[in-house]
Every structure is written in structure tokens, then in C-alpha cells.
């Protein structure tokens, strides 16, 4: 395959008619170009949407209480209940495979009234009583100071980590909030850290206006006792939270005397399931890209096959001479196949090079754009696998394109081939 004469012949055959060769090559070039661009665009969209998820741990569910919908053990339906802090421990004990369980209580919320003051400044913010693990489930970026730690939890320290939006409303420009006190519903908390958070589904502004305080201090300061409002539960990497969800809810139902078949008592949102749905969408999108790209590539390949047929026709006599001189059918076939594969790969490589060049340019442009915009498109790219898949498609298609012409080339008997002019 790698002998010089063969390549000499291939080059001679292909350069004999430059214009035709280039036109033929363009078909394949265009096919692979479209394929790569489509895959990259799909990837860009995927990256953009997944960026919307931020760094949130996707193997996570959120759980809250609702009203009980079935009477059970003498208790009526329509009953309200609350999670207790003891539920956290019993879930941890009874459901293996969970990574984090973060209980949370919350003040404020949608259209909440002013609840935080500092001097003359007031503001309405979401105040969360949290455990330190929450930062691993719904990451925030600590810009100064630190986040809540277990020391704070155990000593019930009245400390707070506040968002950039809170700093802006409660403090004057240039003032360092660390060590200052803010008053949450009349209780003083010392600011120990500030954070910023990646924009999350367009609520970027809102998510900067949150205050995190230790769960225990929150419960004590605002009289929550044993009550837990909400839980974020993350499963281990080798487990799916969707599979463990039922077990977790069974524990809760047992603890709170809820009918085992009551599906409405425990409200939940399974992030993993949502994530999987979106993932499925992108897999489908990728499938469409491959489908469309390959079909366009196919028309290019038919072009190559067509031109090889003409070349074989034109060279009928030459092939006859070669066979009279002792070229075996396979030598002829191999020659035609190699020509076809060579042409396909060269034009395909050009297609890959140009399309990746364009992707590179687009990436440069996107990098130049403001970083915090909520675009649904980020970092379009193709990985090496795609290039190898494309290469594989090219070699296979080159082979296919050459197969029929090669067969035609040896179908004519040498004696007839010699007679043609």
C-alpha cells in the first residue's frame, strides 16, 4: 500500500484533470464540513444549556412537605406536617448510597417583605438556614471571607454569608462588609463572607440576594425548633437519585405516619430526571446531526463514485494494456480503490480542517462576548472521537465509492479492453 509507484500512479491519475478532481472532492468536503459544523453546533447548544444548570450537583433531589392526601392510622387526610431534624439522621441511616443530605429552613421568598436591616438600609432577601454541605450541591463562589462551617453549626453562631446584591443594598460603596452586623428580623448576625453565584436560568439578579446562616442558629433565632422546611439530597456518583428517591420518601412516610401509597404528601423535584431529559434531547440532536451530515456526505460519495466510473471508462484501454502485461485483477481493483479512498480522505480532511477553523473563529468571537450573558450557546466544539468517527466514515465511504468502478474496471475482458479506442 505504501509503495512509491502506487502513489505516483494515484497522483498522476488525479492530477491529470485538476478541475474535475477538485469538483469531485468538493462533494465530500461539503458533506464532512456540514457534519462537523452540525455536531459542533449541537455541542454548543448543549454546553450553553448545561451552563444554565451552573455547577449544581445534578444527581440531586429536593424535597418538601405538602398536605397528606390519604387518611392513615386514624389520622385524617388534609393534615399538614413538618420534616424534623431527626428525619435527616434516619434517612442517612436507612438509605445507603447518599452523599449529602442538607436540611434547610427559609425566611422571605417570592415577594417577601423587608426583613433585613442595617442602620437606615433595609431590604427583602431570602434567608437560608443551611448546613455546610449545601455549597457542594448548589455551588456559590465565595468572594471574600468564608462559608458556614461545622463550628458555626455546633456553636449556633449567629453569622451570615451574604450575596453581592445584599452588599449593594445594605452597604455603601467600598465598605468592607466582613465583620459588620446586619439585622435579620430583629436578630443581629455578623457577616463572615460574601459570595457571587453563576446565573441560573435567568434569575441571576435574585440569586445574588440571598443570605446564608448556620441551620442551628437559624432554628434558634427564629423559633423553628426541630422543624426542617426543605431538604437537598445528593446521591453518590455510582447511584442514581431517581432510584433512591422512593426509599428516601418511604423513610419520611414511616416517620410521619403517612399512608405508604400517598404520593402527594412529600413534594419533590428530581434534578437528575430533568437533567436526563435534557441529555436525551441532546443525544437526539446529535443523532439528527449525524443523520443529516451523513446523508449530505453520501451525495458527495456518489459524486466520487460517479467520477471514478468515468475515469475507469476513460482508462479502459490502459487497464487492458496493464492486464495484458500481467496486472492481476486485484492490482487493478486496488489501484481504483486506493484512488477513491485517497480522494475521499484528502477532501474529507480539508472539510474537517476548514470546519474546525470556523468553529475556532466562532469560539474566539464568543470569548470576546460578555461572560455573564444568558446565551444558550457556548463553546461549540467537536472532540477527537468525532474526528475519528468522521475519518472512519470517510475511509468506508471511499471504499464504497471505489467498489463499483473497480468492479467495472475488471469486468471488461482484457481483449475487449484492448480493442476500445
Amino acid at each position: 500500500m505504501f509503495n512509491r509507484d502506487r502513489w505516483d500512479e494515484i497522483l498522476q491519475a488525479l492530477t491529470a484533470n485538476w478541475f474535475r478532481t477538485v469538483l469531485t472532492a468538493f462533494g465530500v468536503f461539503w458533506g464532512i464540513f456540514i457534519l462537523v459544523i452540525l455536531l459542533a453546533a449541537g455541542k454548543g447548544l448543549e454546553n450553553g444549556v448545561k451552563q444554565g444548570f451552573g455547577d449544581i450537583a445534578t444527581n440531586t433531589m429536593f424535597m418538601w412537605t405538602q398536605t397528606v392526601s390519604k387518611p392513615y392510622k386514624g389520622l385524617p387526610k388534609g393534615r399538614r406536617y413538618n420534616f424534623k431534624i431527626s428525619d435527616v439522621q434516619s434517612i442517612r441511616d436507612q438509605v445507603p448510597g447518599l452523599l449529602y443530605i442538607s436540611p434547610r429552613n427559609q425566611l422571605g421568598g417570592f415577594r417577601g417583605s423587608n426583613n433585613v436591616t442595617r442602620g437606615l438600609n433595609t431590604g427583602a432577601f431570602n434567608v437560608y438556614g443551611d448546613y455546610p454541605e449545601i455549597i457542594k450541591q448548589d455551588p456559590i463562589n465565595i468572594t471574600s471571607g468564608r462559608f458556614v462551617n461545622y463550628g458555626d453549626i455546633e456553636s449556633k453562631r449567629k453569622v451570615a454569608v451574604i450575596g453581592g446584591g445584599v452588599v449593594k443594598e445594605l452597604f455603601t460603596d467600598g465598605e468592607d462588609p466582613i465583620g459588620e452586623y446586619i439585622k435579620i428580623q430583629g436578630v443581629n448576625f455578623m457577616v463572615i463572607g460574601t459570595y457571587s453565584k453563576k446565573s441560573n436560568n435567568g434569575d441571576g439578579e435574585e440569586s445574588q440576594k440571598e443570605i446564608y446562616v448556620p441551620f442551628t442558629a437559624f432554628s434558634q433565632a427564629f423559633n423553628y425548633g426541630e422543624v426542617v422546611g426543605w431538604m437537598a439530597i445528593t446521591a453518590n456518583d455510582d447511584q442514581s437519585i431517581t432510584n433512591l428517591k422512593g426509599d428516601v420518601m418511604d423513610v419520611v412516610k414511616t416517620n410521619h405516619s403517612i399512608h405508604p401509597e400517598d404520593n402527594r404528601a412529600v413534594g419533590n423535584f428530581d434534578l437528575y430526571e430533568e437533567f436526563k431529559k435534557i441529555n436525551g434531547l441532546f443525544i437526539a440532536l446529535q443523532g439528527v446531526a449525524y443523520f443529516v451530515g451523513t446523508l449530505i456526505l453520501l451525495s458527495g460519495i456518489i459524486g466520487i463514485s460517479n467520477i471514478m466510473l468515468i475515469v475507469v471508462k476513460e482508462r479502459t484501454k490502459e487497464i487492458g494494456i496493464r492486464r495484458a502485461l500481467g496486472a492481476s485483477p486485484w492490482a487493478i481493483r486496488g489501484q481504483i480503490l486506493l484512488e477513491s479512498i485517497f480522494l475521499t480522505i484528502i477532501s474529507g480532511m480539508a472539510g474537517i480542517a476548514v470546519s474546525t477553523g470556523i468553529i475556532f473563529a466562532i469560539n474566539k468571537m464568543l470569548e470576546g462576548a460578555p461572560a455573564d450573558n444568558d446565551s444558550m450557546f457556548a463553546n461549540p466544539s467537536v472532540d477527537l472521537t468525532v474526528v475519528f468517527v468522521a475519518l472512519f466514515i470517510l475511509i468506508t465511504s471511499g471504499l464504497l465509492a471505489g467498489l463499483i468502478p473497480a468492479q467495472v474496471a475488471i469486468k471488461t475482458k482484457p481483449i475487449d479492453a484492448l480493442r476500445t479506442e
Partner: protein, 233 residues
């Protein structure tokens, strides 16, 4: 060298079949220079094609150097052609985009000879036909006689047992024809077996034996006194 017994060949022409060879018995010994004569349609080219394994007989036997040539698949036929036979055609049949040297080297390429050795050998045969200086020229830069000499060098390059020439002088003027015949006679004098198909009596007279074909049968097979071409040049 060549042994043919009761060779038949017919072609299917639409609904009626054309019986071209009607029982040919024919043998050639090593070192002979034989011309096959006959008017067009006498079956002489068909005979040569069968001898050259480019075509296959319907019935009869053909032995080449003691080997039966029958029911060859294309791969074996190609190998035998390459090893045992050298072809010289009326229209030269050189490959137009290859230099004279590359044309001569072609049979060696299909023998799998290494490039360097191949080109050395090709140059040797090219100088044998007196065209060493034209090695790098393309066929269309050569005259008809030169082209035929390149073709002869190519036929010789694979060191075949038999040379088969189909009207080798058909496309050449008289003077050039005689030059080519002189070359062929010289090669024959070195001991190579050569078969020439021709319809020109003067060319036939330059061989050592004339076989006359008419309507698919041999009507005459005589040894003749060879006329040396050099006398006419």
C-alpha cells in the same frame, strides 16, 4: 514450446454464431520465428489472442512450455501472461502518461521487482533497442518506429518465453517496418521464440516459417528462407 491440438473458437453474434477457428493443429519449437498470415477474418488475431491467454478456446488443448493452459482464472492468467509472454501490438499500446522507461518497467512492476532493480533492467532493454537516450520521454514525443521499439523493449523486459506480435509493422512505413523487423530478427537470433501475425508478404518473408490461415483452418505451413531485414534498410 507451443502445442495446439484441434482448437475451436466461435463467437456469438446476436442470434447466429460465427465459427472462427475450426480445428487448428499447430506447434512451435523453441527459437522459431513464425509468421501467421491470412486475410482479415481468417482467424489469425483470434488465434494469437488465444495463444496470449487474452481469450479462451471453446475446445481443444493448448500447452505452453509443457503447461496446460485451460480454465485459467483471471489471476492465474495474468500471472502466466506476465511470466511467459511478451506482447507487441499494432498500435503500440504504450501508456501515454508514462515515460518510455516507466513503460518498459511496467511488466517488472507487476512481477514485484524492486524499483531500483526494475529501472536498471528497463534501461538495459531500452538501450538494447537503441533508445537509452529517450528513456525520460513520453510516448507522444517519440516517432512510430521508436514507439514500437519501446513496446518491444517492454515485451522483452519480463524475459518471457514467447513474444507475440500482432501486426507489429501495421502502423509503420516500409523503412521503419524493416528497422523493426531487423530488431525482431536480432532478438530471434539470440534464441527467443517469436510469433508474428501479419498480412504483409514481405514481412512474412523475413521470418523462418509461414503459416497460412484461411477461414479458420491452416491451409499452408512452410519453412522459408529468411530474408534478412538489414539488407533492405
Amino acid at each position: 514450446m507451443i502445442e495446439i491440438k484441434d482448437l475451436h473458437k466461435s463467437y456469438q453474434m446476436g442470434s447466429n454464431s460465427l465459427h472462427v477457428l475450426k480445428g487448428i493443429d499447430f506447434s512451435v519449437k523453441e527459437g522459431e520465428l513464425v509468421s501467421i498470415m491470412g486475410s482479415s477474418g481468417s482467424g489469425k488475431s483470434t488465434l494469437l489472442n488465444i495463444l496470449g491467454m487474452l481469450d479462451e478456446a471453446d475446445s481443444g488443448s493448448y500447452f505452453l512450455d509443457g503447461m496446460p493452459i485451460k480454465n485459467l482464472n483471471e489471476k492465474v492468467a495474468a500471472k502466466y501472461r506476465n511470466k511467459f509472454l511478451g506482447f507487441i501490438f499494432q498500435s503500440f499500446n504504450l501508456i501515454t502518461y508514462k515515460s518510455a522507461l516507466d513503460n518498459v518497467a511496467m511488466p517488472l512492476y507487476y512481477q514485484g521487482v524492486k524499483r531500483k532493480e526494475r529501472l536498471e533492467k528497463a534501461l538495459h532493454y531500452l538501450s538494447k533497442v537503441g533508445l537509452a537516450d529517450w528513456a525520460s520521454h513520453l510516448p507522444n514525443e517519440l516517432s512510430g518506429g521508436q514507439k514500437q521499439r519501446v513496446a518491444i523493449a517492454r515485451a522483452l523486459a519480463s524475459e518471457p518465453k514467447v513474444l507475440l506480435a500482432d501486426e507489429p509493422t501495421g502502423a509503420l512505413d516500409t523503412k521503419t517496418s524493416y528497422e523493426v523487423m531487423e530488431l525482431i530478427q536480432g532478438i530471434n537470433d539470440e534464441g527467443k521464440t517469436i510469433l508474428i501475425v501479419t498480412h504483409e508478404p514481405d514481412i512474412a518473408n523475413m521470418t523462418k516459417r509461414i503459416v497460412n490461415l484461411k477461414d479458420g483452418v491452416i491451409i499452408d505451413d512452410t519453412l522459408v528462407e529468411q530474408v534478412k531485414a538489414v539488407a533492405h534498410v
